[in-house]
């Protein structure tokens, strides 16, 4: 049995690219002269203290199957945030199964 040609074509991609030391910016790189530091929040963050069933919200027509979500998981629990709502809030923070969580968008 031969592999599909597309699979064979992918094989050269498995060759490793050279590893270089890059790393993220750190606090030591922070240049305050070009930072905008507001004196108050630019948007209202979202601090939910209760959640709803996504299936129920779907049945009620508040969302549809293509509605964009941001999703995080805690053990067996899945928590969704509407991407469009997060485009306003930018930060959501709460507690799930006794553990704190936060999403930044």
């Amino acid at each position: 049995m031969s592999l599909p040609r597309r699979w064979l074509a992918a094989a050269p991609l498995l060759a490793a690219l050279p590893l270089t030391t890059v790393g993220a910016q750190t606090a030591e790189d922070f240049d305050e002269s070009r930072a905008y530091l507001g004196e108050s929040p630019m948007f209202d963050a979202f601090y939910p203290d209760e959640y709803e069933s996504l299936a129920t919200v779907r049945r009620e027509g508040r969302v549809n199957d293509d509605t964009a979500l941001l999703v995080l998981r805690r053990g067996e629990t899945t928590l969704a945030l509407l991407t469009m709502q997060m485009s306003y809030h930018h930060i959501a923070q709460g507690d799930l199964a006794g553990e704190p969580w936060m999403v930044s968008f």
């Binding site: 040609r5 597309r6 074509a9 992918a10 050269p12 991609l13 498995l14 060759a15 490793a16 690219l17 590893l19 270089t20 030391t21 890059v22 790393g23 993220a24 910016q25 750190t26 606090a27 922070f30 240049d31 070009r34 930072a35 905008y36 530091l37 929040p41 630019m42 948007f43 963050a45 939910p48 959640y51 709803e52 069933s53 996504l54 779907r58 027509g61 508040r62 969302v63 199957d65 293509d66 509605t67 964009a68 979500l69 941001l70 999703v71 995080l72 928590l79 969704a80 509407l82 991407t83 997060m86 809030h89 930060i91 553990e99 704190p100 969580w101 936060m102 999403v103 930044s104 968008f105």
Partner: protein
């Protein structure tokens, strides 16, 4: 949001939960601010960059772009945090909107952004979408147009591990997954992997048809400027497609 970077963070410092807001701008990315200490934080790395907690880092985790249909397939009992804030409701009022619609509305950075930005990396277009993955000092960016050229599937070696990057049609987003497969092809919207696994509606199934645990590197589906300013001089996956014609 302009850069589309979604990140999960654990908002706890030395066992105490802090309250965070978006308050500030740097490199065209929002800075987080915690009320308790008055420190500013980088929201992609989770590190405090200014203030009393400078140098402290919050644990970070993946937050995935997906869709209602995909989540309900995978987790029928999923919960949603629904905002009643008028400004948020205005944005989600017509059913929520797709990620494509949201991204399509953004064609450039607002006027106040450039003054906050360091020297930009001109290897890719500022607003290009792609997925950035990182581990330790290694950071690599997979441009969406390059993945598109490969029929929405590329394989790569990332720090000694094989990574699959693909465009998930039901999530409308790029995803990265560690795998032992060496190839893949599409069967409609189902991604068939050479090791017998398949990804269908965002769910990974093994050869026996049972769900498998995901193994995903830290990743952000973001714009080039956001990733390259946060991870200076990242590697870029830029292999040209090998014609199979």
């Amino acid at each position: 949001m302009i850069c589309n970077t979604g990140i999960g963070l654990i908002p706890s410092v030395d066992g105490t939960v802090h309250t965070f807001t978006e308050q500030g701008l740097y490199d065209g990315l929002f800075l987080m601010y915690d009320v308790e200490s008055g420190s500013h934080w980088n929201h992609m790395t989770g590190e405090a960059v200014r203030g009393p907690l400078k140098g402290t880092t919050l644990p970070i985790e993946n937050v995935f772009h997906t869709s209602v249909g995909q989540v309900l397939q995978e987790s029928p009992d999923a919960q949603v945090a629904w905002s009643e804030h008028p400004a948020a409701l205005q944005r989600s009022g017509d059913g929520g909107g797709t990620l494509g619609r949201l991204l399509g509305r953004i064609t450039g950075v607002p006027d106040m952004f450039p003054a906050t930005m360091g020297e930009e990396d001109s290897r890719r277009d500022r607003m290009e979408m792609g997925i950035g993955i990182w581990k330790g000092d290694l950071a690599r960016y997979y441009p969406l147009p390059v993945v598109r050229e490969w029929d929405n599937i590329v394989f790569d070696d990332f720090g000694g591990e094989r990574v699959l990057v693909y465009y998930d049609p039901s999530a409308f987003a790029l995803m990265a997954e560690l795998t032992d497969a060496s190839g893949a092809s599409w069967d409609g919207s189902i991604l068939m992997l050479s090791n017998g696994d398949r990804i269908e509606d965002g769910i990974l199934y093994g050869p026996d048809g049972e769900r498998k645990e995901r193994n995903r590197p830290l990743q952000v589906f973001t714009r080039w400027y956001g990733f390259s300013l946060t991870f200076p001089e990242p590697e870029i996956f830029d292999r040209r497609p090998i014609s199979d014609q």
